[in-house]
Amino acid sequence: MDGVHDMGGMHGFGAVVEPGSEVPYHERWEPRIFAIQMLVGLEGLGAGPGGRPTREEMDPVQYLAASYYERWLYSAEQRLLRKGTIAPGDVEAMMARLEAGATPPQHRDPGMAERMRAGLASEYPMDPPPPDAHFGPGDRVRVKRMRPAGHTRCPRYVRGVAGVVERVQGADRLPDRAVYGEEPPAEPVYSVAFRSEDLLGPSEEPGWTVLLDLWDSYLEPA
């Protein structure tokens, strides 16, 4: 979806390097919410599209105002609500209990910790590049113009722009459909190189190259 998460090329956000920006997080709850969001997925506690497409559905004002792990908190909660694992009001009720001084309940389950470690150690590689891929290294391709309402991995700033395929990375289901539970066939995914002039026009900086991994469905011959 063409939301505020699709930030490539936007103006107005200011400096990258700020005091404190070198650390992954500042508060203890942040890595714990990271872990909870991972557990929601691995333990099957949530429903609907995964954490990432759910975060993209955040209200844009809320998305921009939220810290990174605040967005993860949002997606964990939404996924739990969708499955009915928690009900509306449950989190607020617990917030009130904690504010009133209740001791936070704990739960011990070494088996879950073990499953979590195993889950985080697992890898799910793409399928190998198919022999009949539409495009090969050196082919010129153009990114289709589109305005997908749902999750996509085709950022706005490359749409309509021509680039050159550098290699076929593998084959994978189109995320635009797969994140919603569909099972489309795997299609080639290409590493496509774009010249900065083609993406953005003239720049004060000497030209550079931007490379993206793009699914076959996003591309047409150029």
Binding site: M7, G8, G9, F13, V16, E18, G20, S21, P24, Y25, H26, E27, R28, W29, P31, R32, I33, F34, A35, I36, M38, L39, R52, Y68, Y69, E70, A76, L80, D90, V91, E92, R97, L98, T103, P104, P105, H107, D109, M112, M116, R117, G119, L120, A121, S122, E123, P125, R153, Y157, Q169, D172, S191, S203, E205, P206, W208, V210, L211, L212, D213
Partner: protein
């Protein structure tokens, strides 16, 4: 409430009132723990994993290995997942690794403009700036201005290649071995490989130890 993490929650290390979002986060954990749906020790295990075992020290070993051993470098560039696994690293967000090598004429930088995708098994969890709106917005559109903020100036004729991790591939930059490191052993080399040099916003410098 003898658990160390609860001390954190109690504000032992943060003597200030809990923010709304912190309270909400604590409440979600408490709610799921009370119902036996997530375990406190599983959460602890993940936090400890990424605070102690999985971080840029892993990537630094990979880079140092490639610097001292041409055959390993070749394997790392041609079959990255296998080469990284040789050192015992792998897992979530490292499913499809690609290693991009800097040369005298090419400098690589990684980003994820749509999200904040990052190669966890070799670099750990990303720094705040990597996830920030300005980095995601600007590094594809004005890379030299962004690198300058990090104190990195590149010659005008160096090609900058910005890798936007839009798909399932996760990238690791293989920086050039700096001059003045001829006598260094592999561990000494790993010690100068900074996280930012493996993202591409810095280059390693002899004698400048990577900050943990």
């Amino acid at each position: 409430m003898s658990d160390a993490h609860e001390h954190h929650h109690d504000g032992h290390h943060h003597p200030r009132p809990a923010s709304e979002v912190e309270l909400r986060a604590r409440a979600l954990e408490a709610l799921l723990a009370e119902r036996g749906l997530v375990s406190t020790d599983a959460i602890d295990a993940v936090v400890e994993l990424y605070e102690h075992d999985v971080g840029p020290q892993n990537g630094a070993q990979v880079v140092a290995g490639a610097w001292v051993d041409d055959a390993y470098r070749e394997r790392l560039l041609s079959r990255p997942n296998e080469a990284i696994a040789e050192l015992g690293f792998g897992g979530a967000e490292g499913d499809n690794m690609v290693v991009v090598a800097n040369t005298a004429d090419v400098h690589n930088v990684i980003v994820c403009t749509l999200c904040s995708c990052y190669p966890w098994p070799v670099l750990g969890l990303p720094p705040s700036w990597y996830k920030s709106s300005p980095y995601r917005a600007r590094v594809v559109a004005e890379p030299r201005a962004v690198l300058r903020e990090f104190g990195l100036e590149l010659r005008d004729d160096v090609e900058i290649r910005v890798w936007d991790s839009s798909g399932e591939v996760r990238y690791l930059v293989l920086p050039m071995r700096p001059a003045g490191t001829d006598g260094y052993g592999e561990d000494e080399l790993a010690a100068i490989v900074t996280r930012n040099s493996m993202i591409g916003t810095a280059v390693p410098v002899a004698g400048e130890a990577a900050v943990a």
